[in-house]
């Protein structure tokens, strides 16, 4: 088990390095456009509840009425647009918090594994974590503690840590074996000081690039959990839950499925493209 996903992307990023070095440093039009698009989606998700014409539980027409409002009504006759505007917060906030936590824990474990040469203990433990099906962990946690936001966050963190740890370790290794670190060691600098002063600053950018990719994985998991019925408790909702709620009536009002799907895609596609650009830039 020598490779997890982030590593391959990093290697690919290195492959693009030569081409990118020729590029100007200022952001391209595409990057700007993607950032604006992402900013709008995040704004809609966070401020949505303030803009929604109806509450998330108000019944406005018959179920699956395609002509009511912008996107028609859902399986209980509630306004799809309003529920979209109400259902954006969890799918943004939980992945942000979970990614921050798993990146932090992964960085500490990964740097520790690389610096202390304790690959046997830390990486074996991580490998074991990596083979336990994440979905099983999530299911058990949901049934034990209920489908609350912190449980979902914890499930995402647990399933991301193997990736973030592996990435941080592989990013820290070349730094730790470079000349200036060796020199610092020979002068007799204590290891913690070396880690904080010399390793950490060089680690920030690649780890941030990897965090971008983890964030997408986290959005996937949160949306999938909602889809499997472990979203916020009704009548609250999120975009993943809305897809599964309304899939039965997709023949009557397809917007009930298409609108939340589009919102997830408007979140994941720009994030993915931006994270990829950032990762390549870092590698260059």
């Amino acid at each position: 088990m020598t490779m997890l996903a982030g590593q391959g992307l990093r290697e690919q990023a290195a492959g693009q390095a030569a081409r990118l070095r020729a590029r100007p440093a200022r952001p391209s039009v595409a990057t700007l456009a993607l950032s604006v698009l992402l900013g709008v989606v995040v704004l809609v998700a966070l401020a949505g509840p303030l803009m929604a014409p109806h509450s998330e539980s108000e019944v406005v027409a018959l179920p699956y009425e395609g002509s009511a409002g912008w996107f028609g009504t859902d399986y209980l006759g509630r306004d799809v647009l309003s529920r979209i505007l109400h259902g954006g917060r969890p799918i943004i906030l939980i992945p942000v918090i979970a990614t921050a936590l798993s990146t932090l824990v992964g960085a500490v474990l990964g740097v520790a594994a690389a610096a202390l040469r304790r690959d046997d203990v830390i990486m074996r433990a991580i490998d074991i974590f990596a083979v336990i099906p994440a979905i099983l962990v999530a299911l058990v946690l949901f049934h034990r503690f209920g489908a609350q936001a912190w449980v979902l966050t914890l499930a995402v963190v647990i399933s991301s840590i193997p990736f973030t740890t592996r990435f941080a370790r592989s990013a820290a290794y070349p730094i730790l074996s470079s000349g200036y670190i060796e020199q610092a060691r020979m002068i007799g600098e204590p290891l913690p000081a070396i880690l904080v002063r010399d390793v950490l600053p060089n680690l920030v950018r690649p780890v941030l690039a990897d965090a971008g990719l983890r964030f997408i994985g986290a959005i996937y998991l949160v949306a999938a959990a909602g889809f499997l019925g472990f979203g916020p408790p009704p009548p609250s909702t999120d975009w993943g839950s809305m897809i599964s709620e309304n899939i039965g009536g997709a023949g009557l009002n397809p917007w009930g499925v298409i609108a939340p799907s589009l919102m997830v895609l408007l979140l994941t596609i720009p994030t993915n493209l931006l994270a990829d650009r950032f990762a390549r830039r870092v590698a260059g």
């Binding site: 992307l9 690919q12 979905i135 099983l136 299911l139 298409i258 993915n272």
Partner: protein, 318 residues
């Protein structure tokens, strides 16, 4: 210098050790599930005496290590225990869904590898060309589409609106999905779009890395013809990382299959798992979890062995 055989033996031992630790964690996790199985079997009207009796029958009052030991002892003899909810041996409950999931995963794996190879070849042929850029961008876009969204759109459009393919995977009673292959089409497409894009990016990166290795340049400089450079020097060097990429598709498929099976009501391990976790049927959950973990471990170990056998200097993994 390790020989191939002793390397394989070493990997096997490590796989078994990992599986053993996983079994402990799995058992502990399932033990966390709330509710009393005896109470659930008997319903809310059961008397405390009756509940106590059933608890004793199921050996629920023993401490966890004792119950784990009993479970493991049975497992070593090929006995997975009995379902505490529906009765009957776990082998029978898990067998058919395991076969169905295996079919989905194997067909999905084949489709993903095909998509990934075609895409990585298309984008790798001439790096920087228009075709290459379009394919790379398309793959990155496809990578951003969660498989259940692909599935939802396919069900809504191809299944319900157009009615071309079944939106629900009904398996003939007593048969397998292979008796009605048409039900596999939409689930496999859902898995192959994301998985194929994922595989394509990583395989292409592996080949590009191999092409940049010093020995490739050395071969070119000493006048080895380009075809021979690709066949004898680049491709062999790309095998170990590609094997790792393919291995990594297995946990993706095992996890993805749970969601996909749920959407298409496909009678596999994923659907079984989701049902049995809500029923707190510990023996079945543990069996499914162990099977999934074993598949993932096996894939990773196989990739390590392939990588080991393919590298000329027989280097162990760093």
């Amino acid at each position: 210098m390790t020989t191939g055989l002793s390397y394989v033996a070493m990997r096997m031992a490590s796989a078994i050790a990992t599986l053993f630790v996983v079994s402990v964690i799995l058992f502990a996790a399932v033990d966390l599930l709330p509710g009393d199985p005896a109470q659930q079997i008997l319903g809310v009207n059961a008397t405390p005496e009756r509940i106590e009796e059933v608890r004793r029958q199921l050996n629920l009052d023993d401490p966890a290590p004792v119950r784990y030991g009993r479970w493991m002892w049975g497992l070593l003899q090929g006995d997975l225990g009995e379902s505490v909810r529906t009765g009957g041996p776990v082998e029978q409950i898990v067998g058919r869904p395991a076969l169905n999931t295996a079919i989905l995963v194997v067909v999905g794996f084949g489709a993903i590898v095909a998509v990934a190879l075609v895409l990585s070849a298309l984008s790798g042929i001439r790096e920087g060309s228009r075709l290459s850029n379009v394919v790379s961008l398309g793959a990155l876009g496809a990578l951003s589409v969660p498989e259940f969204i692909v599935a939802g759109i396919l069900i809504a459009v191809v299944g319900l609106e157009l009615g071309w393919l079944p939106a629900v995977s009904l398996v003939p009673i007593g048969g397998t999905p292979l008796d009605r292959p048409v039900i596999l089409v939409l689930p496999v497409i859902s898995l192959a779009i994301v998985g194929g894009a994922f595989g394509a990016r990583l395989i292409r990166a592996a080949v590009a890395d191999a092409a940049r290795m010093p020995h490739v340049e050395a071969a070119r400089l000493s006048g080895v013809p380009e075809g021979r450079v690709i066949l004898r020097h680049i491709l062999p060097a790309a095998i170990p990382p590609t094997a790792q990429v393919l291995a990594f598709l297995v946990p993706f498929l095992v996890g993805g299959a749970v969601v996909i099976e749920r959407i298409f009501a496909y009678p596999g391990l994923g659907s079984l798992l989701v049902d049995r976790v809500s029923l707190r049927d510990a023996p079945v959950i543990e069996a499914v979890g162990l099977l999934q973990a074993a598949a993932v471990i096996l894939a990773f170990q196989a990739a390590d062995v392939v990588g080991f056998l393919a590298s000329p200097h027989r280097r162990t993994a760093p």
